[in-house]
């Protein structure tokens, strides 16, 4: 699902996601909104927060895809066919009255916590 990254006045970029969620679909979200060359994820974009506020009943499950940086680094178009490991964590708990910045940081920490320990 493509989320437009150009901001326009007439349309909410999250609209297709909101449609999918109201139809009861699950979404896999990469909340950084881009790929980066850094080993750690960039700060999360606020779309995740808005979706979480709008749909309080859905579960937010943090996941870490290991090796994905090596499969297709930013700027490359052909993936290297190596094995990836996906680790899922416990659903993110909801905290009443949390502001956007705190929520996004907490979500990012939850994702980082799924990173497998380096052997």
């Amino acid at each position: 699902m493509y989320v437009s990254r150009q901001r326009t006045d007439e349309q909410d970029p999250l609209e297709p996601l909101i449609d999918a969620l109201t139809h009861g679909d699950s979404l896999v979200i990469f909340p950084e909104g881009t790929r980066s060359a850094k080993p750690e994820p960039l700060p999360f974009k606020s779309g995740l927060y808005h979706l979480a506020m709008q749909f309080p009943q859905i579960q937010l499950i943090p996941a870490w895809i290991d090796n994905v940086q090596r499969v297709m680094p930013k700027g490359e178009v052909v993936p290297v066919p190596i094995l990836c490991t996906v680790t899922f964590g416990a659903p993110l708990a909801r905290i009443e009255g949390e502001d956007k910045r705190e929520f996004l940081e907490r979500a990012r920490d939850a994702v980082l916590a799924q990173r497998p320990a380096v052997a």
């Binding site: 090596r70 680094p73 052909v78 190596i82 094995l83 490991t85 052997a119």
Partner: protein, 321 residues
């Protein structure tokens, strides 16, 4: 000798009947043993044996399919195995961004080309394509990526992956379709001979190191590997190879010498792979908790990947085929 009077196809069929017969027998023995009460240690041995037996079954099936499907099919089949092995290898090597193009080259250009060369019997180019051309091309691609960090180490990783998983394994289909004068169509025996001597050296070496309890030669890499156990492995492989001379185009002493050399290379190769594993920080290439989708394929094929090129080259060079 009655065997010689059979046609080639009948001989090959007999080979497969015997091979699968032995495997069925092993499975029956395993099953009979599992009906008995066992202590914990025996149970563990039993489970390990079942795992190894399953691997041998898969290997035997692969061998059979490769033979049934002719040169093109065999090349394709081993090409797929090589791809999976290289994937396991590269996954555990911590490559960097700058390696991306080099890895693409390895997976999507070098690997297919090498197997095409094997399938087409262009053996002169097949032998030098990777050590000469590819080993020059990979560092060039890496250098153009513009990342000088750990340059030598990163290139060595990719080159080793190609050497073991692609170059080594591509010799299996090459052996299958190697044309020996007066031995046409019997390539299956050649590969079978190689697999048997390599495997028996491994088994003998492992048994010897358990009984002898000698000082390990490289304690930090492999606690069980010792010079004496290695020699015993090579010696038993040589004896088995010598005894199997009649399935090969070799004379008994030639078979003995070739078996010793191939088996020695295989077990030493296993040691090298263990060192690489230690370097990568894993217990086995298919370590379940570290990695999903890896089945430890590399663990099974590593000795063969080292012995096959040496066996292939010696055979071609000595017999001039």
């Amino acid at each position: 000798m009655g065997l010689r009077t059979l046609s080639v196809n009948e001989q090959v069929a007999l080979l497969f009947v015997i091979m699968f017969g032995v495997l069925v027998l092993a499975w029956v023995i395993w099953f009979a043993l599992s009906l008995r009460d066992m202590g914990e240690a025996a149970q563990q041995r039993h489970a390990r044996f079942a795992r190894d037996l399953r691997a041998v079954w898969i290997g035997a099936m692969l061998f059979w399919f490769a033979w049934m499907s002719g040169p093109v099919g065999a090349t394709l089949l081993f090409g797929i195995v090589s791809f999976l092995a290289l994937r396991e290898f590269i996954t555990l090597m911590h490559t960097r961004r700058g390696d991306h193009r080099g890895l693409l080259l390895a997976f999507f250009v070098v690997l297919p080309l090498q197997f095409v060369l094997a399938g087409g019997r262009w053996f002169d180019l097949f032998t030098v394509f990777i050590p000469v051309y590819v080993f020059l091309a990979i560092p060039v691609v890496s250098a153009l990526a513009g990342d000088p960090g750990r340059f030598l180490e990163r290139n060595a990783k990719i080159q080793w992956g190609i050497m073991v998983c692609v170059y080594g394994l591509s010799h299996a289909p090459a052996l299958l379709i190697l044309e020996f004068p007066g031995y046409a169509g019997r390539g299956a025996f050649l590969l079978f001979f190689l697999v048997i001597v390599t495997a028996s050296a491994q088994i003998a070496q492992e048994a010897a190191s358990r009984w002898l309890r000698t000082r390990p030669a490289a304690r930090h890499i492999d606690r069980s590997f010792s010079a004496r156990a290695w020699w015993l492995g090579v010696a038993s492989a040589a004896l088995i190879g010598g005894a199997m001379y009649w399935v090969t185009p070799f004379k008994p002493l030639q078979a003995l010498a070739l078996a010793a050399l191939a088996a020695g290379a295989g077990t030493l190769g296993e040691l090298v792979m263990r060192a690489l594993k230690r370097d990568a920080g894993v217990a086995s290439w298919g370590h379940a908790s570290a990695l999903t989708g890896a089945v430890g394929l590399l663990d099974r094929i590593a000795p063969l990947a080292f012995s096959a090129p040496i066996f292939f080259h010696l055979t071609r060079w000595y017999f001039d085929v």
